[in-house]
Symmetry: C2
Subunit: 227 residues, 2 copies
DNA sequence: GCGACATGTTAACCCAGGTTATTGTCACGG
DNA sequence: CCGTGACAATAACCTGGGTTAACATGTCGC
């Protein structure tokens, strides 16, 4: 099953390389990179750590819209947009490469491959968003969290950041809750249930998949959307 | 509030025109246009009626991922993708323009504007998806349905298909339920509640917004994402 | 080694929305 | 004119997950 997504994406390498030739900056956990509605004059590439985009309702409720892992471009899908439609912030201590939009546009029209990569990245983000819609609309709490674990594991595996059956997982239960549209309390219950069933455990910011087959079965996880 | 989205999008006109010079075909309500996983050799443009994209879980649960109105390109965001990640089907009697991918690609590289339109259409779809994520993750049933009404009204108003405070709304309660991730029964309860509160009523496939201000307030609706 | 704040755990209670099933209403074809 | 099937409306009952609040266990700075 995992064989289909086994090769390392070359996107990460290229973007990373490009970003390193420009400004990089470090953010601490929870720090806002770019607030909703602000004009976005730059594009960002995750060099280290995890980032996230979320939107907020007037009354305080908020929902995570995307999680960005090392090598990914943040908010590729709002490239060309005047203003961001969600707040970008750091899920962990985070190092980000930043490239001004005009410079990046120039680069894109110069290197045909880069334009293709941008489009591919947008499509991937969009595909993930559609999966999340299915999760939030139809899956139970248990299925959602199991699905999130599977997704983040596979995404990290594709870009070579996972060992055999474990991978970095630096999220707090609070953060998992916001991604899955649940409360922190119920998230805790579900994580214990997954542990009790010997499917997966989170220890010291590491996710260990005890039984990946069984986990993806309970999550109804199908990795094809991750290419 | 509506003033910001008042102008008619020229996208519809151009794409429509292009599509009319190619194959058109009519589907009946509920008919599948393109099934999940199939290779998509064509792109589709809605000429008349409403279309929808949905994904399905092995156990039968299904979730609508996007609703396409006249003038829109279906699955712009999977253009360039090998295979569709959701089933495309007709919400109503539907007339669709169909253009082979290669032909469309050629057209795009020829007319610079078309490429820009495609990108804009992808971004809009993506922005709507993010809103839906927020709806499914955070909003109550009442808020979701109110939000859907607001969104579909404004989208139709932008493309000139709405009168003053009413617009076509050819969805059954079953279809609304699937869009909002609710059951048909609860959808019925909520629609009645909206009617009782004198916010909106659906009669003979038409939505009448009795009090749009109040409706968008209860939905926490902010139309800025629709450009 | 200690205070303080962030995380994780647990328990009791509650309600929005799901489930199932019956009935009403309308449109359409024969 | 009636049968059939799609759609809408109700009702009774149940449960997954929210809410609140207390407590335990880090972990970090000083």
């Amino acid at each position: 099953m995992l064989a289909t997504v086994g090769h390392t994406s070359c996107q990460a390498a290229t973007l990373r390389e490009l970003a390193l030739r420009h400004t990089t900056r470090t953010y601490h956990r929870g720090e806002t990179i770019r607030a909703e509605g602000q004009r976005s004059e730059s594009i960002y590439i995750v060099l280290d750590g995890w980032a996230e985009q979320h939107a907020q309702l007037r009354d305080g409720r908020s929902q995570v819209l995307a999680v960005y892992l090392p090598g990914q471009m943040c908010s590729a899908d709002s490239f060309g947009e005047e203003r961001l439609d969600g707040t970008l912030s750091a899920l962990t201590r985070l190092r980000l490469g930043e490239i001004e939009r005009d410079r990046f546009s120039a680069y894109i029209s110069l290197y045909h491959d880069a334009a293709f990569e941008l489009a591919a990245s947008q499509r991937l983000q969009s595909a993930i968003q559609r999966r999340w819609l299915m999760c939030l609309g139809q899956r139970s709490a248990l299925e959602r969290i199991a699905h999130l674990m599977c997704e983040l594991f596979v995404r990290q595996r594709v870009s070579g950041q996972a060992r055999e059956w474990s991978c970095p997982f630096p999220l707090t239960q609070q953060q998992i809750a916001k991604i899955c549209g649940l409360t922190q309390v119920h998230t805790n219950r579900v994580i214990q249930e997954l542990r009790r069933r010997d499917l997966a455990v989170i220890t010291r910011k590491q996710l260990r998949l005890i039984d990946f087959e069984a986990l993806s079965a309970t999550a109804l996880f199908d990795p094809s959307y991750l290419q």
